[in-house]
């Protein structure tokens, strides 16, 4: 696994921050944003400028840079060494909402307000599949390649589709995940115009994202990337790979209702499909990493959907939104949250929902408020719901040979 996110530059660091309540959220600096609202965002603080020589970096949008770092970590962690022939059956399935939109925004800024000139690298940096292509090029992965764009569920969908491709035998190993880097003036203004963004907490901007709390005010945009090496069980066992977890089920169902308004029905069907594929009962799930973006409506709808799927089990089921700390990584968020969920399996600790100060009567589940919980975790569910009504749910469990 690999991750570079606002709360850490590796899966281990991210998990530790999630458990300890270390926030990656801060007030948006004035030089980044021309609007009038007081906004917070979660940026990757790690200095990544030294990873490539300047001329190589000049061809990589920030989202692709973060993607390459996460993918390299995952490949190193998996000790994945591929022969020429094996590389033909090694793929990349990558999720991103808006790909290299930062580069496109910058090119328009230069075109209309700046030099009036457009850089020759704009197309290869801005295209939505740039990160997927760069990962494949950097690592010599020559099998199936797919770029998935289902808004906020992009990387969860990419992981789910990679899982299906492995089951169907189209590949033996796939680097799957997602990335996003859109803490830009244009993007902040666009989300702000939708009135979807949280106000910066006046007392402590790092606490601006408050999922499931009555005083929640909306989404905090984040950036980052996370990647997992998915491998067919027979191959992983044959080479003696260290297996973090078994990906056991994937559900994909859509709302067919509102373009931005979530709906419980599609979420319920996605969760049920993932449970069914994993041959898991509601009682088998020890932890749900919620989508939990901290919008007024989103948290209530997800709560309703969880009650519908889990029935009597719902009130005793630990559910948390780690977005309180790492923000909403958009297309990258599902991958990071699966990495954190698998971390919970490995370390037997459930990361809390931070900043849950005021219980909301409409959100009445066990959200693991503010304090991590040590407990046995053998199966987890990770929810990702995207604009367009695109829901992707993943179920993973402790690997048993």
């Amino acid at each position: 696994m690999g991750a570079i996110a606002p709360i850490g530059a590796s899966p281990g660091e991210c998990f530790e921050s999630a458990v300890c309540g270390r926030s990656g959220v801060e007030r948006v600096p004035a030089e980044l944003y021309t609007g009038t609202a007081s906004l917070a965002a979660a940026r990757v603080r790690t200095d990544i400028s030294g990873y490539w020589p300047a001329h190589q970096r000049a061809q990589l949008d920030r989202a692709a840079q973060l993607a390459l770092i996460a993918a390299a970590q995952a490949i190193a962690d998996a000790e994945l060494y591929l022969s020429d022939e094996e590389s033909l059956r090694a793929g990349v399935y990558w999720g991103t909402g808006l790909g290299g939109a930062t580069s496109i925004e910058e090119s328009y800024r230069q075109l209309l307000l700046g030099s009036g000139r457009v850089r020759p690298t704009t197309v290869v940096m801005g295209m939505n599949n740039a990160a997927a292509g760069q990962i494949s090029i950097a690592n010599g992965l020559r099998g199936p390649l797919l770029n998935v764009s289902t808004a906020c569920s992009s990387s969860a969908t990419a992981i789910g589709e990679a899982y299906r491709a492995l089951l169907a035998g189209y590949a033996d190993v796939i680097v799957a995940g997602g990335s996003e880097a859109l803490i830009t003036d244009g993007n902040l203004r666009a989300w702000d115009a939708m009135q979807a963004l949280a106000h910066a907490d006046a007392n402590d901007a790092s606490r601006s994202c408050k999922p499931f709390s009555a005083n929640r005010t909306g989404i905090v945009l984040g950036e980052g990337a996370a990647a997992l090496v998915l491998e067919r069980e027979d191959r992983a066992r044959a080479r003696g790979a260290r297996i973090h977890a078994e990906l056991a089920g994937y559900g994909n169902a859509s709302d067919a209702r509102g373009i931005s308004k979530p709906d419980a029905d599609g979420q319920v069907r996605a969760m049920r499909a993932a449970l069914a594929e994993a041959r898991a009962n509601p009682d088998d799930i020890d932890y749900v990493n919620a989508h939990g973006t901290a919008t007024q409506i989103g948290d209530v709808v997800e709560t309703t959907a969880l009650k519908c799927v889990f029935g009597d089990r719902a009130r005793a089921l630990p559910v948390s939104s780690t977005k309180a700390l790492h923000g909403h990584l958009m297309g990258g968020t599902g991958a990071l949250e699966l990495v954190l969920s698998i971390g919970a399996i490995g370390r037997c600790v459930i990361p809390p929902t931070a900043h849950l100060e005021e219980p909301d009567p409409a959100c009445d589940l066990d959200y693991v408020p503010n304090q991590a919980r040590a407990t046995r975790v053998s199966a987890v569910m990770s929810n990702s719901f995207g604009f367009g009504g695109m829901n992707a749910v993943l179920v993973a469990r402790a690997y048993q040979s």
């Binding site: 001329h55 061809q59 030099s115 020759p120 290869v124």
Partner: protein
Amino acid sequence: MDTIKTIKELAAKQFGGEADAIDENAPVDQLGIDSLGFLEFLFELEDAMGFPIPQESVAHVRTLRELATVIDELIAARPAAPA
């Protein structure tokens, strides 16, 4: 103006290394510059020179020395700046 010096200094800045160590007579792809990288380099060079470099004028350029010759021709063809 020493055009080749400007070009080599810009190439060193963009692609790394020392300007003096760059072989101005080597094909640019042997300097580790791919076609897109060369376009990006020309974009930066336009900024440095302060005038556009038409694509057709550099279509057959293989080395930095040849590029410097083209740039010098472009400079010579430009109307003299008003005194």
